[in-house]
């Protein structure tokens, strides 16, 4: 949720001004620049900006602090970040007293600026959302970002309110895209852990060793790349909640480690010898049938019972289609704002397409579909044509081993088919075919294959 917000960069030095502006634009913000305090104030008279980056030292006319004070007169709640060199840190402290949100000493670590900017934007987003929510109808149907009038979802929300204050482990089960993380967040933010961290980990996205160090952290020197000690997500979630998504995919070693944390609330960092103790509520989620995985011996039963203290099964979107109009309304509102579009409505016909579709990817797929439609929509109304990309997937085709091809022809066909099946993913294609990537690239060139 970025593009709507505009940022102003004020500096007399061209390279400094333009390179910072370019860097922020890459992050998706709309950025304007001004070469002097005077120019910046003129612009601010016409419109407010979400953030002003202002260089402290500017020759002639307004310096950084004077510029900030003028802008603050126009927009008292403007967020101003004063940029300073080492030599002028004292003055920067004065800047803070005069109402700067923050000052940064250049050159600054990119991570610091990213975090500073996203913190300010997050607050602005919240303020804006609260304003919208206050006047919105959907609030009758919404609880902590979950919008529904479906009876089963409403029951789940009652349960969420009831158990939010407990430390008991929760297992959320639902197809991908059903909003498992939203339920986890609702649990966290409705309980007394709300003021502590909510930490999310997607267990499927990482390899076993990466996931292990992600969860438990590591000590300096414990493996290649461990150049400093790093806290794991369990430590970061201390006092709060950790959300372990796609728990069904973790290796048996990690299942054992996790069981130990759940039993003892203690663990070791990777390469560490000292036990770390934490107070964390664990919420796990999976799109698999874990009970079945237990029966098949793929998932430890003791861990399953530890996780499954409170069980929340989330219905797929096709079983709560009455929510589609509400959800779509919410998505249009948010996405149109992000894209800076004056889009307000969806046609009856388009809505009918959405109601009749099966949504194998659930709410997330619906959200993506609306986003895709909004991007291509040129009028204030979303119509059927904006959703023409929605079609049910075709049946997989049978194939017999051909007996009339030369080896070269067969090789060409196999490479082409594998590329297509893996949607052009070169790395996976090479793996499946058992050749390295440069060999694959050579063959693609040789056979003049097209990119899927």
């Amino acid at each position: 949720m970025k593009t709507h917000w505009q940022i102003m960069v004020v500096d007399d030095e061209e390279i400094m001004r333009e390179s910072l502006a370019a860097w922020l634009r890459e992050d998706g913000y709309h950025v304007e620049t001004a070469v002097s305090g005077r120019q910046a104030i003129e612009r601010a008279r016409r419109q407010n900006f979400a953030i002003y980056f202002i260089d402290l030292k500017m020759p002639g006319g307004y310096d950084g602090i004077e510029t900030m004070m003028e802008i603050k007169k126009l927009h008292p709640d403007a967020s101003v970040i004063i940029i300073t060199a080492y030599a002028t840190v004292d003055t920067a402290i004065t800047a803070m007293k005069e109402g700067a949100q923050e000052y940064i000493v250049k050159p600054c670590n990119p991570e610091e600026i990213s975090m500073l900017v996203s913190r300010i934007i997050k607050v602005k987003n919240l303020q804006r959302e609260n304003m919208i929510l206050r006047k919105k109808l959907t609030r009758n149907y919404s609880f902590r970002d979950i919008i529904s009038k479906n009876a089963r979802i409403l029951e789940i929300l009652d349960l969420v309110r009831e158990v939010a204050g407990l430390r008991s482990t929760v297992l959320i089960q639902g197809e991908s895209g059903t909003g498992k993380e939203l339920i986890a967040r609702a649990l966290h933010y409705s309980g007394d852990r709300a003021r502590k961290s909510f930490v999310c980990v997607s267990c499927a996205a990482l390899t076993e060793s990466l996931l292990e160090s992600e969860l438990f952290g590591y000590e300096k020197g414990s493996f290649t790349g461990a150049t400093a000690q790093k806290k794991g997500k369990f430590e970061l979630a201390d006092g709060g909640t950790i959300f372990l998504d796609e728990i069904g995919d973790i290796s048996s070693k990690l299942q054992m480690d996790l069981l130990r944390v759940l039993q003892e609330r203690k663990f070791y960092r990777v390469g560490g010898t000292e036990e770390v103790e934490v107070d964390v509520r664990v919420i796990a989620a999976t799109n698999l049938n874990l009970r079945k995985a237990v029966q098949e011996g793929k998932f430890r039963d003791d861990l399953f019972y530890r996780l499954n203290v409170i069980h929340i099964p989330l219905p797929p979107l096709r079983e709560r289609k009455e929510d589609i109009p509400l959800l779509v309304e919410g998505f249009i509102e948010r996405i149109a704002h992000e894209q800076g579009k004056e889009l307000r409505e969806i046609s009856e016909g388009a809505l009918e397409i959405l109601m009749n579709y099966d949504w194998p990817g659930n709410v997330r797929e619906l959200e993506n579909a609306v986003e895709r439609a909004v991007v291509t929509c040129k009028t204030p109304l979303l119509t059927e044509s904006n959703f023409s990309f929605l079609h049910q997937p075709a049946e997989p085709r049978e194939w017999a081993i051909p007996t009339h091809l030369t080896l070269e022809e067969a090789e060409k066909k196999i490479i082409q088919a594998t590329l297509q099946r893996l949607e052009g993913n070169i790395k996976e294609t090479a793996q499946v075919l058992g050749i390295d990537r440069s060999t694959l690239y050579e063959k693609i060139k040789k056979y003049n294959l097209s990119r899927p």
Partner: protein, 184 residues
């Protein structure tokens, strides 16, 4: 036919360049070719910071932009900076023709570890895809596993996959800078 060109500063490391060329071709679909190497960009060296100005290098690349180039990606071993930041992994012109990446902080040796070319190549692929993505108008992605997500640390680079996420792959096709080019 329009081509994405790579241009090495100093001797090109074969494994790294081959990986980057293959991936760019895969992610973007245009032919990818390598230009003869230029000298290390001494003109952009800032002795006080012991780093290279990425703005000055980009300006210089503009002057060697080939007539049939769609995009030009410079690859340097020099550590890059812009005045505001302590370093950048790379820089690109949003919706423009030029991009630049540095291998300096992608190498294990920067972090006091033994050199591992395969690791550097994988990181270079992600950063090259990222910067070329910017030249087509893509901005940062919120999916931390997508090469278009912002990385400020090597840890964040390593968390990325090499392929664009489905959302960025789709958005790419909708970008005016992308649509204005006829597909190969």
């Amino acid at each position: 036919m329009k081509t994405i060109y790579l241009i090495p500063f100093g001797a090109a490391d074969e494994e790294i360049f081959a990986s980057v060329e293959l991936s760019l071709w895969h992610s973007f679909g245009w032919e990818v070719r390598r230009l003869p190497a230029l000298e290390e960009p001494g003109f952009a060296f800032e002795p006080q910071r012991r780093q290279y100005s990425s703005v000055l290098i980009l300006r210089m690349l503009q002057s060697v932009f080939p007539a049939d180039a769609l995009r030009l990606l410079g690859v340097t071993e020099g550590d890059l900076f812009i005045p505001m930041l302590s370093f950048v992994f790379g820089q690109a012109q949003l919706n423009g023709g030029l991009a630049l990446i540095s291998l300096a902080r992608l190498r294990q040796t920067f972090y006091g570890l033994a050199e591992n070319n395969a690791v550097t190549a994988a990181r270079a692929v992600k950063e090259a895809t990222h910067e070329i993505g910017h030249t087509f108008g893509l901005t940062h992605c919120l999916d931390a596993g997508c090469p278009m997500s912002l990385s400020n640390t090597i840890w964040q680079v390593d968390r990325k996959r090499e392929e664009l996420c489905p959302k960025c792959a789709f958005l790419l096709q909708e970008m005016p800078a992308w649509k204005s080019q006829s597909r190969p």
